[in-house]
Symmetry: C2
Subunit: 333 residues, 2 copies
């Protein structure tokens, strides 16, 4: 079996997440224009979602999630060579946020830029950072997703139940003959883009998300796209889904997640999502979920994880990685 | 002298540009609220700038510039592995434009994404594509900048004199033992980001560009940033400005360009800009200028070019490359 880049060894040495101080339960969420029945709420499946407050901007949330990942990795911000920020929910022309994240972290020598790619932005960012780390002059990258999807929901609409704010991040480090940073290994990734479905999700003049496609069709498209990139990724790396310990997908809605599980043909218990506790946090969902399930003890060192996401635009992306033992910070000085 | 990546040989095999059908002269430009004296117009230095019309969207302009670059390279869109689109002047949440450019070009297997980074977006895109081309499974990339800066100028304001619309692109190909695509060589690049100056340029609620810094300070900051990345880039590659045939910068305004020329300590005739003929076209300015000066015969095969840009956000970037002989299309089948 031919491996894609045998000489390129990128490690995930840290991960972290941030949820807003204000986490709305279904009871505290402002009233909807058309109140939902308990059965509808159960079907939607989100019990809690964050609403970022004034001081919790995109850059501030990204910085907090980034610091947690850096702490876990035992890496100081000053040692970062690049910072890639996935975000689409607050960007509008300029300025973007990544240079401010760099400044807030104190990542003095890093270059920093934003990426869109909607909900697939974190995986596109991982891919981009992985390739920059092939360049001998770069060794450490922070990839962080920070989203305020709640701000793209029309107040009083059903979308306010589903959409939440959060940030999540990975620290990536290049390993080599002279440097074993520990951590899990980012084995490979796969990216796809589909302009034929570019217009199925749009943002209205007022800034609210609007779908031009029936929910059923969206679920089918999401499942098909995720299976496609996942199959290509696994096949190229000589693996099958049977080898994968956990699938940690971006699950935009409960319906999308069910469609993904069905299409992959997996037992639902091998798919990890904390969608119910945080809502749809877009590109932040994968690192936020991973952090959650490491904390609960479900995800263990050595586990093989497949993460996949689709994004409005249209994008699909997947990454295959192992989880490493977090090194005690003292040992990394 | 240590070279940064001796084993990584990326070629620029094609370049192309697109200007809107409607190119306003100073005589046809809609009247300003405060009319300018001829001396003011001369000082601003822009005689012509494009206004994209209905059918000339970001994706359409990018596609036309991209096709010209592909034609010159003798590469078909179906052979592209990735498409990176620099654009900040029309993006707003989602969808982004790159997947549509992919579709319009017919770049079936490519992944495609947008990049912001304001006026530095094209060079950030070149850097990103260069690193993706280290991955053995990617061989050909299209980097295209497509901007409608005219839409970010308040109608009737002085900014309408300066800001113009355009697209420009490069085709990059990885060379290797088994593959010599010809073209010029993308020798190296340098990227920097500066969050301390993130807020100096903003876009108003109405969508107009607004500067929070005096023009004199902006010129000084731009010049300082460009000298910094250029010096690092040249030093790392064992070159000095004396080795460079042409500097092709992004020149946001005549004042910025004069400051850059002064700071680099170069004779003005070694700095090439067609700002006077196209206005400030933001991230598209470098490939648009290069295409122009190859057409005029000033830039010749074998010339060593340094391109540098700053962007509101704040970014600085530079790239060092040689110009190649465009291969006749027939020879590349």
């Amino acid at each position: 079996m031919q491996h894609a880049h045998p000489a390129h060894d990128v490690r995930i040495t840290g991960f972290g997440s941030y949820l807003p101080a204000l986490m709305h339960t279904n009871a505290t969420l402002p009233a909807l224009d058309d109140p939902l029945e308990p059965a509808d709420l159960a079907r939607i499946g989100v019990h809690r979602r964050g609403w970022a407050s004034e001081g919790e901007g995109i850059a501030e949330m990204a910085t907090l999630a980034g610091r947690r990942a850096l702490d876990r990795a035992g890496v100081t911000a000053a040692d970062l060579d690049l910072v890639i920020l996935a975000n689409w929910t607050q960007r509008r022309y300029l300025p973007d946020f990544a240079p401010t994240v760099k400044r807030l972290l104190g990542a003095e020598r890093a270059f920093a830029h934003d990426l869109g790619c909607a909900c697939a932005g974190f995986l596109y960012g991982l891919a981009t950072a992985t390739e920059f780390l092939r360049n001998p002059r770069y060794r450490r990258a922070l990839v962080v997703a920070s989203e305020q999807t709640s701000r793209r929901a029309r107040p009083g609409s059903r979308a306010t139940v589903i959409l939440g704010d959060a940030a999540g991040s990975f620290v990536l480090e290049r390993a080599g003959r002279d440097h074993d940073p520990g951590g899990g290994q980012l084995i490979d990734y796969e990216l796809a883009s589909d302009g034929a479905h570019a217009g199925i999700m749009e943002i209205t003049e007022a800034g609210w998300v609007h779908s031009h496609i029936a929910q059923r069709e969206l679920c089918a498209l999401a499942a098909r796209s995720i299976v496609e990139v996942s199959d290509r990724l696994l096949a190229r790396n000589g693996r099958t889904l049977a080898d994968v310990t956990w699938v940690v997908p971006h699950s935009g809605t409960a319906g999308v997640q069910a469609a993904i599980v069905a299409a992959l043909g997996l037992p639902a218990q091998r798919v990890l999502s904390n969608y119910a506790q945080v809502g749809n946090v877009s590109s932040a969902s994968i690192p936020v979920a991973l952090d959650h399930f490491v904390a609960t003890g479900q995800v263990q060192p050595g586990d093989l994880v497949l993460s996949a996401a689709v994004g409005g635009g249209w994008y699909a992306a997947a990454a295959l990685y192992t989880m490493g033992k977090p090194a005690p910070r003292e040992a990394r000085a």
